[in-house]
Assembly symmetry: C2
Homo-oligomer: 203 residues x 2
């Protein structure tokens, strides 16, 4: 089994690294050099026709891409510690929160990076007005999540899950590109300290 990835602060490879650390699975990344555009080279496009990392290659040659799908594969082959929930309602609840985090936080952060940040300006056509509007969208998402975090120590409530991994990798990446957590979001700040104290957060 090979995990093609990149040791960047970008949320997607890091989500898988944190997930594997929480599971206690030792599978180092096989590095794809994004600066050398190795992810768009024919060799990697044969593994993932969209040229993305991370991509997981199984021993029979089949490849799985999309971060959460890769994590789900590891959850299925090694269910404990559970990070996607065990019962029907737990699984639905985790899936809901993964998607809420992705759509309310990760999407605006990604759009800001893609359409406003100077580091992507050289690579891609940007729509800067739209890009900048995501500062407000991300602020709104933070305030909403801050309110929800009054209900428990972790995103889904009492249990640490992949939803926390998605949120941590997003707020850390956002801070790295110039969008720190709103200091008025006290629950969100406390949650970030809580999950950052786990050994997996260094992945």
């Amino acid at each position: 089994m090979k995990l093609y990835g990149s040791p960047t602060p970008a949320p997607n490879p890091r989500r898988v690294r944190i997930f594997l650390a929480e599971k206690g699975i030792d599978l180092p990344e096989t590095r794809i050099d994004l600066m050398k555009r190795e992810h768009k080279a024919p060799e990697h496009l044969a593994r993932n026709s969209l040229g993305q990392v991370p991509t997981l290659e199984l021993d029979d040659g089949e490849t799985i891409s999309e971060t959460v799908a890769i994590c789900r594969y590891f959850e299925e082959i090694q269910p404990e510690p559970s990070l996607f929930g065990r019962t029907a309602i737990e699984k639905a609840r985790v899936d809901m929160w993964v998607r809420r985090v992705e759509f309310q936080l990760m999407v605006p952060v990604g759009a800001y990076w893609r359409h406003f940040h100077p580091r992507t300006a050289a690579l891609l056509t940007q729509y800067k007005d739209f890009g900048e509007s995501n500062v407000d969208a991300y602020a709104k998402g933070q305030r909403w999540l801050d309110g929800e975090l009054a209900n428990g120590p972790f995103i889904t409530g009492d249990a640490f899950s992949i939803a926390d991994i998605c949120a941590l990798s997003t707020v850390d990446f956002a801070a790295w590109i110039g969008l720190p957590i709103d200091p008025e979001c006290k629950n969100l700040q406390a949650w970030r300290e809580r999950v950052s104290a786990r050994p997996s957060a260094s992945a």
Copy 2:
């Protein structure tokens, strides 16, 4: 159990309706009138703090939102016919394709609707240049999926799955807002005819 929804051609409520039809589960929508802004009323915000439909309310009062999470709940309580896969690799493969369809097709269609279509212009601030750029992004997504569909009759290959439901509700909604399938995408056209012939497609 109550399913709050809306009888619109919008992809999210329809994804759940098609999914339930494929499962043979009879659970009519409890209608939320979007034109009357009932989804943003306190009564519905108590069910879903983001004010979205669909939202599923269980008999104990817990609510699940996010379309795919709702479908996953029904998959867990009634596994057959399987629409999310049975084995680890099948589950990962379906999850990958759901996400690929969502990010490569549904996101550009949604951004075009949100930021360019005249019907949303009256309701929300639009970034029209960005909105229009999604015509190309959707065209690119269609060509990519058309190539992938050379590998089998359905999105994941041989088996019909929730990934087909996600893709059908997206291309149908896209056509409804003025973005029909590219006639050069023959595999995609044939796939659409194949899945549209299933009784569930009328949901």
